[in-house]
Symmetry: D2
């Protein structure tokens, strides 16, 4: 289905629905790069949405690694399962439910992706600290000003190092009969850090 | 209707239709500022669209000045007329037709606004050079890459000075139940210059 | 010195020093437009910096109006005074000191500009509520994420209406020997609102 | 030196000099993703600069693959060699000279990266068409308006498919004593396409 090593599978290769937003390929690529993935790792994808990050992470960590995809939206769970089938990956476990409860039982992670527009990003970052192995990476995608602020506040208090805050604004071209215009997408802020 | 001296009338104060795009208030404000308007001036608004720039310019040049609004889209002409009525300004002439022909007959201008997504921006810039008084200002709003390039090329050959190229990207907040997100609008490039 | 009605005096017309940042003309233009100025008004410019907003506001409110420029940085006060002299405006009072104390004694305002990167923007917004006339406008320019968050929080609790949050990103062209590149400036968020 | 599978090596891991600009890690990550690399491929990196793309591509194509790095700036060649040594990769050939001549002699490529601010990007794109295998990928990073235009024009005439035009604007956070501000970097436009 996808035979390349580099992440950044085009959005249109994924099953999509109007109910579940997909992380756009360029933003997703940066998130994956910030996670510094390698073969054999254990990855959480919290607020997995369409499952696009889970799929890409699963391809990177290969079959000796594992991705755990969590969402509290049943539409997201269903869509993630469809994409798992479409891409034929076998190393993703899908969990339907509240991440704040579900991750407590999980084995420790090498990298944790936190996405979605949920209001409890701050709490999930706090919990993630305990679930990350030392040297593990956390990658948080944020679109709300309030979430950005609360994550900045909490990161200062937690045991994270090498905190990087990158705002990404992507515009895509659109051909009209008269020429090429650029259509802006909404900015996403990606915060990444290393567990001490 | 609008009792303030500063330009930047909120978009929602104008009559609008889906058929005719309106220059957003923040971009419009910058365009007006680049034109350096004053009382008594003659202004062209080429590709007047909703008429929002014409209205604001008419308020700035006052009744001893005059705005000539031109568009080849009858929807734009109709909408401009509605806005003229709504704001009760009496110093705007509206011309329906091809600017390339229509401006030839006009009296000379102190400032010329060129907007719209038409493919003939370059030719209109060339013609505008002859219709501008010495020291007059040209202000061009561009969204197409090809238009941007062609205007840059032609400006080098014409008698314009103090060329300024400013790309403006505006994001507006949107409150969701979970917080405040920023919605990006498409970037607009504003080129302004002084006729030598 | 400046004979135009529209705001947006080019930055290079102002006295500048490296010690005091100047609000860039395009951002300043939008701030002025959001303040909805008119003749005869009383304006505060809190964190006046170079004085560029004070000068433009003073020109808009004319001699029956008045601008009160405040800064706790003596370099800013000195530079503002130089610019007042340069532009020959006589309706600006300059106050050196802490805005939180100084504004308590002032007459009520029609519009209040709040700038600077000070950490006490939130408190100044609270105080400004009491100093604004009913229907008066507040315009806040913000570059820090923490300030943006705290202002959003406090605005919800105060008596402000028609809150508008606009992020402005300006890029300016630079000609190189090989072509024209766009240089990005840092984004500024402008919050404006009407006192109920 | 770098043990991760995902591209996006942090900029500070590379040797850098003031004389040679480095493609920033987030932009580089997107470029690599658009190239769709895999083991065993032949890659050109035209205008290799610091060599950061060459290094990352070399790690992705592994030792059965090969990267050919070309630059006409001796500082770039020197820096690329330093980075090759630093990262200990053995599958990069470095060529000092004019890409328009040098690529004529090379074996066919699976992917071609074109960077730099050179004025001859258009010609190199034309030549690249003949050097790419069918199904091969071209990835062009552009910062000049004139180059963007000329590449758009030529791509229409060449045998490329799935043309994607993505403008990427990255802002990075900076902590000040008073809070966190975002510093904007200049936008880069990445054009990618598949050789038919």
């Amino acid at each position: 289905m996808w035979n390349y090593k580099t992440p950044g599978i085009p959005d249109e290769f994924f099953e999509r629905t109007e109910k579940v937003p997909i992380t756009k390929e360029e933003v997703r690529t940066i998130q994956l790069s910030k996670a510094r993935l390698t073969v054999g790792q254990i990855i959480y994808d919290i607020g997995c949405g369409s499952g696009s990050i889970s799929i890409e992470a699963a391809l990177q960590v290969e079959n000796t690694g594992k991705v755990i995809a969590i969402d509290y939206d049943s539409n997201a769970i269903e869509l993630t399962k469809k994409n798992i089938e479409k891409f034929g990956v076998s190393n993703i476990s899908v969990i339907f439910g509240n991440a704040k409860e579900k991750i407590l039982e999980l084995e420790k992670a090498d990298a944790i992706f936190i996405g979605g527009t949920g209001g409890d990003t701050k709490e999930i970052v706090e919990l993630s600290q305990n679930k990350l192995k030392s040297g593990g990476r956390i990658v948080i995608a944020i679109i709300l000003i309030e979430t950005l602020y609360s994550v900045l506040q909490i990161l200062d208090k937690l045991k994270f190092d090498s905190v990087d805050i990158t705002q990404v604004t992507i515009s895509k071209s659109k051909k009209t009969t008269k020429g090429t215009m650029m259509l802006a997408r909404n900015p996403v802020t990606i915060i990444s850090a290393t567990k001490v």
